[in-house]
């Protein structure tokens, strides 16, 4: 018996259980459903759940140990039949089928949330494991404090993390420098000044930016923004002649981040109670004084949260950096110089011929874990701030 046909049979048994359970419950009160503890279909569901649940646990357990085969298939179906009969026997007026189904639903919800949590834990654990391997082969002080990054696959590499951190922070900084004022001003205009009709058109248009795949932004950086910045800024100013640069990647990433900042800030600004605006206008403040002195301070914690979320997006971005800023790890102040980030190097170290025992490969996990720790801190900070803001008006 194959896995598919077993599952099919399980489905048929469950349906049968539903019908039988419902019928038996009704029969136990001579068809007068008002005397049942629960609505009739709950009895059906209770039997169906008892048919499927233990059997599918066995099914999964069997499958992970060995292929199901005939023996397994019959064992699963026998268990399903047993569950069906047992639950069917209980289907009478006094059985609290509604509460039993409720518990099963709750179990399902718990299962779903634990899958998400377990996955996170699994990711962190696997990274931790590989990172430990890396640090057993490579001195951690050299990783965290060395200023050169030059992996050589023959061994004896310099795997200093500082140039990558610098590139990450520099590019993210430029992106935020561009995205935060633009996004915030757009949000203020949309929520405080624009009429409802303009708002209904402009808001979705801005949000379209968030739906563009980052590789498309990367292409835009590579073929448009990069050459433009090189020909009109870098070369005339004598700051180099590289098309890939921190500035290119930063600007394009900034464009990508605008909808994050504007859309969240817009929501937060709209949540500031109208009564505060009225209070300020009623004292003879102008609209912009009201925005600057009452609305923005009231919304500030939420806006900071939005900015931090945008920052963690910027730090984790890869595609735009590869195509916009290049792949050269460098510690430099010139924004028209090519540099690179942690994420790009993680991809770089794991593509091509990889030997999972060499530090040159394992370093990717150390980089990933550091990055994860970094964005986790940012996200936690953002959540704390946003939550604090929520409490203010409740």
């Amino acid at each position: 018996m194959t896995a598919v046909s077993t599952l099919l049979m399980l489905g048929i048994l469950a349906t049968l259980g539903f019908v039988l359970g419902r019928r038996r419950a009704l029969a136990s009160v001579q068809g007068d459903s008002r005397r049942l503890h629960s609505l009739p279909h709950y009895y059906g569901w209770a039997v169906a759940i008892w048919t499927v649940l233990p059997a599918s646990v066995l099914f999964l357990a069997w499958q992970t140990v060995a292929p199901l085969g005939n023996a397994g298939g019959f064992a699963v179906l026998a268990l399903a039949l047993g569950g069906l009969v047992w639950a069917w026997l209980r289907s009478s007026a006094t059985f609290r089928a509604r509460n039993a189904v409720e518990r099963a639903v709750m179990g399902l919800l718990i299962l779903a949330s634990s899958i998400a949590i377990a996955t996170t834990a699994g990711i962190v654990l696997s990274m931790l494991f590989e990172t430990r391997n890396f640090f057993s082969q490579y001195d951690w002080t050299r990783f965290f404090f060395s200023t050169t990054w030059s992996p050589r696959f023959q061994g004896d590499s310099d795997l200093g993390f500082l140039p990558l951190l610098w590139g990450t922070l520099y590019i993210s900084f430029i992106a935020l420098l561009f995205a935060v004022p633009t996004g915030l001003f757009a949000a203020i205009y949309l929520s405080e000044y624009a009429g409802p009709r303009l708002r209904a058109i402009a808001k979705p248009l801005i949000e379209v930016l968030a739906g563009i795949p980052t590789i498309v932004y990367g292409l835009f950086a590579l073929i448009t923004v990069g050459p433009l910045l090189r020909d009109y800024f870098a070369q005339p100013l004598g700051l180099g002649n590289s098309g890939s640069s921190v500035m290119t990647a930063g600007l394009v990433m900034g464009i990508m981040l605008i909808p994050f900042v504007s859309s969240l800030s817009d929501d937060i600004i709209s949540q500031v109670p109208q009564s505060l605006r009225d209070g300020s206008l009623g004292l003879g403040a102008t609209k912009s004084e009201t925005i600057r002195q009452v609305v923005l301070p009231a919304a500030l914690p939420g806006i900071v949260g939005a900015v931090l979320l945008a920052a963690s997006r910027a730090i984790g971005e890869t595609m735009i950096v590869v195509l916009g800023a290049g792949a050269a790890a460098k510690l430099d102040l010139n924004p028209f110089e090519a540099m690179t980030t942690i994420t790009v190097k993680i991809v770089g170290q794991l593509t091509g011929d990889t030997d999972f025992a060499a530090p040159e490969t394992l370093v990717a996990f150390a980089l990933g874990l550091t990055l994860f720790a970094f964005t986790l801190c940012l996200n936690v900070l953002a959540l704390i701030i946003v939550r604090k803001y929520r409490e203010q008006y409740e």
């Binding site: 505060l276 009225d278 009623g282 004292l283 003879g284 403040a285 004084e289 002195q293 301070p297 203010q392």
Partner: protein, 255 residues
């Protein structure tokens, strides 16, 4: 009673919200150093008319106001009048206390700061203290001026909002059901305060409580379905109303 000078004069005021004709041809004189109460069943346009007096209706897109409202001889709807400056002269206190999420001090200092009324920190301190004293709140908050205004009790918050309105040095004070969110003790405190404020301002108060109108006001205007039905001395309105609709309202038959 002090001499009765007219502070504001409204003549044939009409207000429309889109097609809804909310105020129909209202004439009222607001006297200085007098508490004028607007009463009437809810939805009759009391708040709408009150907001005409400081042009807060301008902030509602669909609202149109016709007619004229004179303040010391000048029509406040004249294009030369800046509504922002008008609102500094005609202060407003709202139904629900709405302190800014700032310190008590900064709440009161808000108006003086944006209008540049003071030249030094010392002078500003003085204005803040004076306004809080006039709002009968000073004793309760003088030790925590830098605590957030939102941390006060409802009654204290409403007195803070009154102090905030007084601090810009207005001539008229508009109050839209200022006690409806307060408990009886806080209400009594605010009512006492309103009586005291009349020595310096013309006060206009919207209220749904006839007892409150009788207690605090000298003049009463009764609105019904957007019309001003009757306007006169509070005592006369409550004892010998001229219009049958007023009589039914104050005896509790409509409303």
């Amino acid at each position: 009673m002090t001499t009765e000078t007219t502070k504001m004069t409204a003549r044939s005021v009409q207000v429309f919200y889109g097609d809804n004709h909310a105020i129909k041809d209202v004439d009222v004189d607001i006297l200085d150093n007098t508490v004028t109460a607007f009463i009437g069943p809810s939805g009759c346009g009391k708040s709408t008319f009150l907001r005409c007096l400081n042009r807060m209706n301008d902030t509602i897109d669909i609202c149109r106001v016709q007619g004229e409202i004179l303040m010391q001889g000048e029509n406040i709807y004249d294009p030369r009048v800046d509504p922002v400056q008008l609102r500094a002269k005609v202060g407003m206190v709202f139904q629900k206390p709405n302190p800014f999420p700032k310190s008590i001090y900064d709440n009161v200092a808000y108006g003086p700061k944006i209008h540049g009324l003071t030249r030094s920190k010392a002078e500003l301190d003085e204005v803040v203290e004076k306004s809080l004293r006039r709002a009968a709140l000073w004793a309760e908050v003088k030790d925590r001026l830098h605590a957030p205004g939102t941390g006060l009790s409802g009654g204290q918050q409403q007195r803070l909002c009154i102090a905030r309105a007084i601090a810009t040095n207005p001539e008229v004070l508009l109050m839209d059901e200022p006690c409806s969110a307060l408990d009886p003790i806080a209400t009594a405190q605010v009512e006492e305060l309103i009586d005291e404020l009349r020595t310096q301002f013309a006060v206009v108060i919207v209220t749904h409580s006839m007892q409150q109108a009788a207690r605090v006001s000298q003049r009463t205007a009764f609105f019904h379905l957007g019309n001003l039905v009757e306007y006169g001395e509070t005592g006369q309105i409550f004892t010998t109303p001229r219009d049958p609709r007023t009589e039914s309202y104050i005896t509790g038959r409509i409303g």
